[in-house]
């Protein structure tokens, strides 16, 4: 609780002088996101091709849930600024199962985005507003590769973890419906991600697969659509 209060105070202190001290809000959102992740899809095809039996693709980085928490500051009547965290998760699974056992490849891809945003209200009513926004993030990718073999009562599971950091830029629109001291809303946008090369969290080596006779470095490219519903609690100072 003290940390939350500290963040709010820091945000206010960092604002340029002369701003109107109006409202600070804390929001939480929940939604869906789609992402490109073409290299990870190629990685899934490659690792499964190495198996002694033909694995079937059960899933391959589908649209999946995202969640966010943000701090808002009403800078001017039509302009809000803020900072926040967005968590996005997706993954892939390939599997072969018969009566004697199974082989699975699972790839879990998580994106942790820390960034700042600015929104401008193009429609500003008493009870609602419609805004456009831009956002800049540091996008921290974490990818876990898991291979599971379970045969006739004997099993093994191997995990490898990889990570990378790059910037991401999002543009979108936001609709908020205001109540006495909270707002409900939806926002949607498109994120353009600079693909981050993935390297092992243990050894630091790049994650590669053979590509045209040379190792091709695997990147995490989270470019894609996102949409969420959210609630904002306004703190009056």
């Amino acid at each position: 609780m003290k940390r939350t209060t500290l963040y709010i105070i820091l945000l206010i202190l960092l604002l340029p002088a002369g701003m109107r001290a109006q409202e600070v809000g804390i929001s939480a959102g929940f939604g869906m996101s789609a992402q490109r992740l073409d290299d990870l899809k190629a990685l899934q095809r490659y690792v499964t091709s190495l198996e002694v039996v033909g694995l079937e693709t059960v899933s391959s980085f589908p649209e999946y849930a995202m969640t966010s928490v943000s701090l808002y500051y009403q800078l001017y009547e039509s302009i809000r600024i803020g900072a926040g965290y967005v968590f996005t998760s997706t993954g892939a699974r390939s599997n072969y199962t018969d009566y004697s056992g199974e082989i699975s490849w699972d790839i879990l891809a998580n994106s942790h985005r820390l960034g700042a945003f600015l929104s401008y209200a193009v429609l500003d009513g008493e009870r609602y507003d419609l805004s456009v926004y831009g956002r800049v993030d540091a996008n921290i990718s974490r990818v876990t590769l898991s291979r599971t073999i379970y045969v006739m009562g004997y099993g093994t599971r191997q995990n490898e973890k990889y990570g990378g950091v790059k910037a991401g830029f999002t543009a979108g629109t936001e609709f908020l419906w205001h109540f006495r001291d909270f707002s409900l809303g939806v926002d949607g946008g498109y994120m353009l991600d600079l693909p981050a090369s993935l390297s092992s969290l243990d050894s630091g080596e790049d994650l590669t697969i053979p590509s045209g006779g040379a190792p091709g470095v695997i990147t995490a490219d989270w470019t894609g659509w996102r949409a969420q519903a959210k609630a904002i609690i306004w703190l009056h100072f």
Partner: protein
């Protein structure tokens, strides 16, 4: 702001990321198509021996050859009463001609075997591939077993 509201915010902060982590328990069930079954031929000197006997002074030598057609031989194990008297996995390589499909070897049952005089069954089990093309077959965790049984007379003093 009320304490309850802070609690709600904290719960949102902590629970939503965990709830959003991707997982997929799906599987792709396959009914493997088996190849032609493997067959095994086993010959031992016990086949022609009349009343194989462990005497008080002589070891009974068992010589055998197992050959698998269209498959692999994984293991041969011979049990007299409750004792393992031969196991191809632990057998000396010097005495063993062991390829993936054929095993020619021998072992002795010495007079010192701790059994009272009498008749005992000697079980010779040969484990070989099933050719079912299942994961158990591919990783050699699944096998067919051919078991031979011979009656052995032990005349030793059992010491």
């Amino acid at each position: 702001m009320s304490t309850g509201r802070y609690i709600i915010i904290l719960l949102v902060f902590t629970l939503l990321p965990a709830a959003c982590t991707y997982s997929d328990p799906g599987y792709f069930m396959v009914d493997p198509v088996p190849d032609d079954s493997a067959t095994i031929d086993v010959h031992t000197n016990l086949d022609t021996m009349i009343d194989p006997t462990v005497t008080a002074s002589d070891t009974l030598w068992v010589v055998f050859e197992a050959k698998v057609n269209n498959g692999e031989l994984y293991r041969a194990i011979c049990i007299l009463e409750d004792s393992i008297v031969y196991d191809s996995i632990t057998a000396s390589e010097v005495d063993t001609l062991y390829e993936s499909f054929i095993l020619l070897d021998s072992f002795g049952i010495p007079p010192s075997i701790p059994l009272d005089p009498g008749l005992y069954p000697l079980y010779m089990d040969f484990l070989y591939s099933t050719n079912t093309n299942s994961l158990g077959d591919i990783f050699s965790y699944e096998w067919e077993t051919k078991e031979l049984e011979y009656i052995i007379l032990v005349e030793g003093d059992g010491q």
